[in-house]
Symmetry: C2
Subunit: 229 residues, 2 copies
DNA sequence: AAGGTAGGCGTACGCCGTACACTCGTCAAG
DNA sequence: CTTGACGAGTGTACGGCGTACGCCTACCTT
């Protein structure tokens, strides 16, 4: 026992420990700074030690995605499909917001991991339970795309640096992009009372999500089929 | 002149030549194999020569995106907003299909380039010309997201390797992901006549696009405002 | 006590992006 | 014709990356 405290018996690595350390390291320093070497250093271990638990970096990233997706709440039962789907997707969104690097990794993966497959499977199940045909469900899943995991690619990150002034649009850009300028100025005006200028990301996400869900609903009610063009 | 043919007077590099070479090299070998060294080699030049024309690799990628986005057809005039937007987005989709690496690069960029800004500006203009309020246009643009550039992130690439058999779902995965299996089998059955099994990507894209456009239309007609919750 | 096994180690290779200092051809000014 | 500045292309070098391969050693089984 004296010996134990001297040699400081080290907790052995495990695949799970590696993946979790990867997640928290990515949370802290960003995914682009996550390297095998750095992760190993964080674990007090030599880089090659990791390779006894993950085949390569790709597999590490896959595993990290699984950890994150595993954090999403399971589907609720006993409510109608629309609110169930909505609630689950918003839960996924919360999860992805806790790990802001995750959506990039998910996007970069070429084939889904088992955990992601299970997630999709249960989401399909929600539509089927709501009475959607297999056909319609299929197209609906495509239409949701990455939104089913709680994120969408925003082409422009229009939230100004936090705490900054409403970021008056410089006249030369206002001239070159008149419509963008109009929109930016209008928003600044509207939300003058809101805490932070810029967009309410959550509002935008729900706006688009509800637009889609309502569209699904309509198609479902009118018995849409792909053959009925 | 004899001297010229001997020394094989070399075409001088230029920013434009570098960017275009980057685009075609990425088309050929994929974006992940595009390195400054490899691009330089392709141009018959030493790697560091590139840095006289682009500041760094980031700027090279930005420039390549600009080249691609510049290939998208300009908006058509004289038709209603919906078909104009639709047509333009499908044109963007064609362009992005010619350069399959481009969407990944666009996704990875943190702030839009001037060319992308101009694209978005003209797209906003199409909604405004169609009578959309600034407010609604704003949310609509968010809802479109990357779809306005003609791509969406597909979580699952369900097109089986080309030419392969309908890829019977192995029983153990059918058991684990029953809904996915159901969907896969149903599609195989439906499209037995179609050339390639799997999804018609274009159909899926248009399905979702039209769902959104119809939703926009409805909100516009009923005078939607964000304050009127 | 013997031997196998698996987890961690050390070294090394070939890539990458790019900083920095150079050469050398071109061209304008004297 | 000389000169000198300038800018495009060069060469070298550095630090970082992922990871192949072989080794060492602590432990478990027999």
């Amino acid at each position: 026992m004296a010996r134990q405290s001297e040699t400081t018996r080290r907790v052995p690595l495990s695949r799970d420990r590696v993946l979790r350390a990867g997640v928290t390291l990515a949370d802290e320093v960003g995914i682009e700074s996550l390297s095998m070497r750095r992760l190993a250093q964080r674990l007090g271990v030599v880089p090659m030690a990791l390779y006894k638990h993950v085949a390569n970096k790709e597999e590490l990233l896959d595993g990290m995605v699984d950890v994150v997706v595993g954090e999403v709440d399971p589907p609720v039962h006993g409510s109608n499909w629309k609110s169930a789907v909505r609630q689950r997707i918003l839960s996924a969104r919360e999860t992805l917001l806790r790990h802001r690097w995750a959506y990039r990794v998910i996007e970069s993966r070429s084939s889904p991991t088992p955990v992601v497959l299970a997630y999709m499977d249960s989401m399909i199940g929600m539509f089927r339970a709501g009475g959607f045909s297999v056909d319609l469900t299929h197209h609906v899943m495509h239409a949701l795309g990455s939104r089913m995991l709680g994120f969408t690619r925003e082409l422009f990150d229009d939230s100004p640096s936090p705490g900054s002034a409403p970021a008056a649009v410089p006249p030369e850009v206002a001239e070159r992009y008149p419509h963008i300028a109009e929109m930016a100025m209008s928003r600044d005006h509207d939300r003058a009372s809101t805490v932070g200028a810029g967009c309410d990301d959550r509002f935008e996400f729900e706006f688009a999500l509800d637009l889609l869900l309502d569209g699904f609903d309509r198609l479902h009610r009118q018995g849409w089929t792909s053959s009925g063009h």
